[in-house]
Amino acid sequence: MTTATTPTADAAVPAAGPGGAVIEASGLTKRYAGASRGTVTALDGLTLSVPAGVIGLVGANGAGKSTLIKILLGLLAPSSGSAAVLGYDVVDQAQRIRTLVGYMPEHDCLPPDVTATEFVTHMGRMGGLPPTAAKERAAESLRHVGLHEERYRLIGTYSTGMKQRVKLAQALVGDPRLMLLDEPTNGLDPAGREAMLDLIERIGAEFGISILVASHLLGEIEQICDSLVAIDAGKLLRAASMSAFTKASAVLAVEVDEGSAQLGAALKAAGLEPRRDGRALLVRLGTSEEESDRVYDAIRDAVADLGLPLNRLERRRHRVEELFADEAFDEFERAYGAAGGAAESSVSAPAADSTSGDPDRSTESTDSDPGTTGSETADDH
């Protein structure tokens, strides 16, 4: 019995643009005039349309996630193309958008020498709440993010996890219709990460707030998101509903605590082609159901015959992460390219050939993002 109104209930606030999209972009391009290394293209003709809900935005460091978020907030002007948030244009109606959106930046943004309560209250005031409402909502937001007794302590004494919660609380305090969260689990320990993800999921489901979560930890995106946008080197890699991404794959992973080699041999003898991957043996399932069932049985029997301690048997889930590894991506495309099509909500899905093997290639481009670096160094030298 949540009292949360869905965005559409409020007539004055269009919850979404045409077609129920909370975020739309068309041909969105952002180039930075790099000081030392020419022009850097952070976003390259991005076209997408994202429905309400919890939306994952994945990409390697430097793929353009932060740039996209800043453009959506109207903090950066696109070089070309257009985008709309909740039906408002990011250039002409940025002010309007910012009254409806809560933003949690990736970087540290908290002053160490004030208490969480003071800070969130202040940010509530900055979001347009009257003093009393700001105090109440700050307390509420901090409660929702799980900071209670500690909220009167100085932020400087907080752990990373607590700071992340404060960052989330300040984004939540103004009762936004959409939250843009940039790497919300960065630097969190497992418990903190879990709590943060639960919270985001809950905000999305119970509070009726749409959430765009940028992350490079793909596991967590899989866990909480309804749909997903994957970008690489400023280009759209893929946009689809979550189920299309993480469907179980046609590969079975078997782990035994000992006798892995014996099992491998036994499976080979049974006509399968096991492949080692770390502790696991990977076995391809058949194309038909009967064929697959035979594989299941063969594994069961091999394990039972050898009396091995079976630790794990599962269909390898497609990890979104694999989108970014060339080889795995190809496999992914082969297996799911067709299946994903139906669920796809995006217009364009450029080929992945832009992904190269150099692990740092794309990253370098954004670290030179003039918005995030340089200013401090330039000031100080």
Binding site: S36, R37, A60, N61, G62, S159, T160, G161, M162, N186, G187, L188, D189, P190, A191, G192, H216, L217, L218, G219, D257, G278, D293, Y296, D297, I299, R300, D301, V303, A304, G307, L308, P309, L310, N311, R312, L313, E314, R315, E321, F324, A325, P359, D360, T363, E364, T366, D367, S368, T373, G374, T377, H381
Partner: protein, 326 residues
């Protein structure tokens, strides 16, 4: 990349042997407090060659522990030694130790090569040029990037250049504070690979982290710090097995969950079976070893096809959660 590609590494291992064998990190009843806050509480541990992960929730005392080992904090009580020498007030210890600090604080106005070269000079190495080249090669930064200013580097490159600087004097011990923080999976895999190679070549590698996937993949031993205390050490799977008071939980999916469940509940190794609403079984096994050996056979007996067996709580993450909770 295999070890053979880097002859220098074998040299390092050989050098390590020549310098008196592998360097051990020994903490003996170490306590450290800031004001009234006890950050590290009576920790005794020995860390030998190989890759060791220092795990713990945020604020558990991992950084404090690393700083104690690296000689940037004094133990309030107890002793910290590396290769037999105390670390506090002993700059000579840095002949043995290489340190990669957490903060992104490098001399951003230098090029990567200049930074590593300067570090080599500070260590008074006989052949600075060769040492620099070797260190850069080790982290695969012997590219044109080495001659760019560090402030143009990505997060991953910064970390790697810091590792190169920390390795330039061929230390036997390498300490890394949160080396994976802020890295994306690609960058992380790269760094893990590097640490692996170093660990395999006889170095003592200690890194702190709170992202457990990394540690799982690095498959080294872990030292788990919770609230300033050493909660567990060793292989994390072994640690889990040691927690006998907690039944192991498995998610099982099969062609006939009811039949399988009924058969399993009769087994002494199984404490409880529950049908999960969405399909599948949740099995709580009191005796892990027996259960895992029985399961396939029981399924076969019942003519049930096993579709999935998932240890629900065996990830390092749940081990960790248990340790933190207890």
């Amino acid at each position: 990349m295999t070890i053979d590609n880097i002859p220098a590494q074998r040299d390092a291992a050989a050098a390590a042997a020549a310098n008196g064998g592998p360097a051990e990190i020994v903490l003996d009843n170490v306590t450290h407090w800031y004001g009234n806050v006890v950050a590290v509480n009576d920790i005794t541990m020995t860390i030998g060659p190989g890759v060791t992960g220092l795990l713990g929730p945020n604020g558990a005392g991992k950084s404090t522990l690393l700083h104690l080992v690296s000689g940037f904090l004094s133990p309030s009580r107890g002793t910290v030694t590396v290769a037999g020498q105390r670390t506090w007030h002993n700059p000579d210890i840095y002949k043995v130790i290489g340190l990669v600090p957490e903060r992104d604080s490098v001399y951003a106005f230098l090029t990567g090569r200049q930074f590593v070269t300067a570090t080599a000079k500070l260590h008074k190495l006989p052949d600075v040029g060769a040492a620099t080249a070797r260190a850069l090669a080790m982290v695969e930064m012997d590219t044109e990037a080495a001659d760019r200013r560090i402030d143009t580097y990505s997060k991953g490159m910064r970390q790697r250049i810091k590792v190169a600087a920390a390795l330039v004097h061929e230390p036997r011990v390498l300490l890394l504070d949160e080396p994976f923080n802020g890295m994306d999976p690609r960058q992380r895999m790269h760094m893990m690979d590097l640490l692996h190679r170093l660990g395999d070549s006889g170095h003592t590698i200690v890194f702190s982290s709170h992202i457990l996937e990394e540690v799982e993949r690095l498959s080294g031993t872990v030292q788990v710090i919770v609230s300033g205390r050493l909660a567990a050490s060793g292989d994390y799977r072994t640690i889990r097995r040691l927690m006998t008071t907690r039944p192991h939980v498995f998610q099982v999916a099969s062609s006939d969950d009811r039949a399988l469940g009924a058969a399993l509940i009769g087994r002494p190794s199984v404490n409880g079976v529950e049908l999960t609403p969405g399909g599948g079984l949740e099995v709580r096994a009191g005796d892990y070893g027996t259960f895992s050996r029985e399961l396939a056979a029981v399924a076969r007996e019942q003519g049930v096809r096993l579709r999935a067996v998932l240890p629900a709580d065996e990830s390092l993450e749940s081990v960790f959660t248990y340790l933190v909770a207890s």
